[in-house]
């Protein structure tokens, strides 16, 4: 029984025999920031599920006040099935794109989390999305948290180093906190090739050299995990949860929370 759990855990946290992102992130609070559409929500869901698979007590804060669809809350059924506590506006405001921060967010960020408590915060994109975060920063102890900047260099306005640095600094200003780590997440969804993954990882390393902020891990679609060779960067193997409605698994069961 124990070993079966261990094997399952390793599959999630040690893709391809490499260190997994959940192993290297030791701070109880992980905040995801980045360009609009850089992949924060999908990474937040995968991290939350990864920590939950390790037996952690995970809260996932959907702080996306920017985009109206494809937010963390769209994966409500999947994350709640794993015992993850999703913090999101309730009632019909669940579906709104209003700048709502429920009181529970501050509560979960300030209270003692215990040895296995984890909080994942998914901020909205750009400095606009990070502004909501800035209003909470006084409550977030820098010693207990990491703020990760997600980079997908195939996204508009994120193609060159100058744009990445400018956005990183704008987000830091809006969030009132320094970024502590980078996440390489360059992909083209279904059209991702190993070259795209490697190109994105190289761009993240350049950004790390420019800013002095380390690359904490590389997020890679599950089927592309083998693409990164010659580096021991930790990997987050990405399973997609924020799917369009034609995805084969999108049955009536999922419709309601699919953000669609």
């Amino acid at each position: 029984m124990q070993s079966a759990v261990r094997v399952q855990m390793d599959a999630m946290t040690k893709p391809n025999g490499r260190a997994g992102a959940c192993e290297v992130l030791t701070a109880p609070i992980v905040i995801l920031v980045g360009h609009f559409g850089s992949g924060k929500s999908e990474i937040a869901i995968n991290l939350a599920l990864g920590f939950a698979a390790r037996g952690d007590d995970v809260s996932l804060v959907d702080l996306d006040v920017v985009k109206p669809y494809f937010r963390c809350r769209a994966a409500r059924e999947e994350v709640e099935a794993k015992g993850i506590h999703l913090i999101v506006p309730d009632g019909d405001r669940f579906y709104a794109d209003l700048p709502i921060i429920v009181p529970e967010v501050k509560g979960v960020l300030t209270r003692s989390l215990g040895a296995h408590g984890r909080v994942i915060v998914d901020a909205g994109g750009d400095d606009t999305g990070a502004r909501a975060l800035g209003s909470l920063m006084d409550a977030i102890d820098p010693e207990r948290s990491e703020m990760l900047f997600v980079v997908n260099t195939r996204r508009p306005f994120a193609e060159d180093q100058a744009a990445l640095v400018a956005m990183l600094r704008d987000i830091e200003t809006a969030a009132r906190r320094r970024v502590t780590g980078l996440v390489a997440n360059t992909h083209l969804i279904e059209e991702t090739t190993p070259e795209v993954v490697r190109e994105g990882f190289a761009a993240a390393l350049t950004l790390a050299a420019t800013t002095g902020i380390p690359v904490r891990f590389c997020a890679v679609l599950k089927r592309m995990v083998g693409a990164l060779t010659g580096t021991d960067v930790p990997i987050l193997s990405i399973e997609r949860y924020l799917l369009p409605p034609e995805a084969p698994g999108m049955t009536g069961r999922r419709r309601r929370f699919a953000g669609v």
Partner: protein
């Protein structure tokens, strides 16, 4: 150029720039805010101009002015905002002004919600504003197609001197897919518009107007417009999918629903049921001839829409009782799954007990 990962809204905005458009006038509304947001960032980089108007009514009249002056111009909105623009659209149709309008549809009526919908089909294809007019309507079902059709929309608008609408349900605007831009038109390469009000030194003055007080003249104007709309039939476009050799059930769907239908086709194949898809790409003019042909190759037709039944009226008129036409619709932001379409198709071919 390397492929980019773009939201439908961003690809639509970038496509307008690739079409040589340098002017955007609009007003924000979910779920298409990424279009004005994108244009406000990009247009200044390429020497263009973005204006956030005080309302959609104002924006549509800015379009009228810019188009009358011979410029490529575009706007985007979502359902309630498009309703506000309808006065301007009618005036532009009357004054024969080329303009591109994108509607990323959300649930209505009234304020409705912010989730995806296709319930503006009537508004888009039957005129929408007052008077006897039509606009050419294009309906993409992928992000790449949204980009391609927006570029085409500008050419079609100029060709017919008429507003062209590109309609997508909210998901088409919000989903992300890889995109490339194959064609770039520079504004200075665009053909002269001899009818535009560009200053009349050395020539007869041009007038942009939709007011015709003389009934004979207004009647003639209406029939001229009618003839123009009839001539747009040359632009019909559609996609046949899995229809070769006929099928048990033909699904007729556009936009996101057509994507769902393609998954349903795969799932039905495993059950030994052959579903085909007829996907209109032009919603006006409707690809009627091609639909009739595809429908006659099927035992039954299933129209699926994110509405309580709008396109189905056109499909029924075209099929004209030659095949049974059933309807499956979800509204309010609820979206059918591929499994729902398979179940509906199975009902149509079930042998009564």
């Amino acid at each position: 150029m390397a492929k980019k990962l773009m939201k439908g809204c961003e690809a639509i905005g970038e496509a307008a720039i690739h079409a040589g458009c340098r002017l955007f006038f609009g007003y924000p509304i979910t779920p298409q805010n990424e279009i004005p947001e994108y244009m406000s960032a990009r247009l200044p980089q390429v020497g263009g101009m973005f204006v956030q108007a005080e309302s959609e009514v104002a924006a549509s009249n800015m379009l009228y002015g810019a188009s009358g002056a011979g410029c490529r111009v575009f706007t985007s909105s979502s359902s309630p905002g498009i309703s506000l623009m309808m006065e301007g659209v009618s005036y532009m149709a009357g004054a024969e002004l080329p303009v591109v309008i994108v509607n990323i549809m959300r649930g209505g009526p009234g304020l409705g919600g912010i989730l995806p919908s296709q319930s503006d089909y009537f508004q888009a294809t039957k005129g929408g504003g007052h008077g006897d007019y039509r606009v050419l309507v294009l309906a993409p079902s992928t992000v790449q197609e949204a980009a391609d059709l927006v570029i085409d929309a500008f050419d079609l608008a100029d060709k017919y001197r008429n507003p062209v609408m590109v309609v997508g349900d909210g998901l088409i605007g919000q989903m992300m897919e890889p995109v490339e831009f194959k064609k770039t038109i520079k504004p200075e390469e665009l053909a002269e518009k001899p009818w535009a009000t560009t200053g009349c030194a050395g020539r007869e003055r041009n007038v942009i107007n939709s007011l015709y007080l003389d009934p004979e003249q207004l009647e003639k104007h209406n029939w001229d417009l009618y003839a123009k709309y009839q001539s747009m039939a040359a632009e019909v476009r559609h996609e046949d999918y899995n229809t070769e050799g006929g099928c048990d059930v033909l699904i007729v769907a556009y936009g996101t629903v057509a994507r769902i239908a393609k998954t349903a086709i795969d799932q039905a194949r495993e059950k030994g049921l052959k579903i085909g898809l007829f996907r209109p790409i032009t919603l006006y003019p409707y690809p009627a001839e091609a639909l009739a042909k595809a429908a006659l190759g099927a035992k039954a037709v299933l129209v699926a829409e994110l509405s309580t039944g709008q396109m189905v009226e056109d499909v029924r008129a075209i099929v004209a009782g030659r095949r049974p036409v059933a309807f499956h619709g979800r509204v309010g932001g609820m979206v059918m799954g591929p499994d729902d379409l398979v179940a509906e198709a199975e009902k149509l071919v079930a042998v009564p007990a």
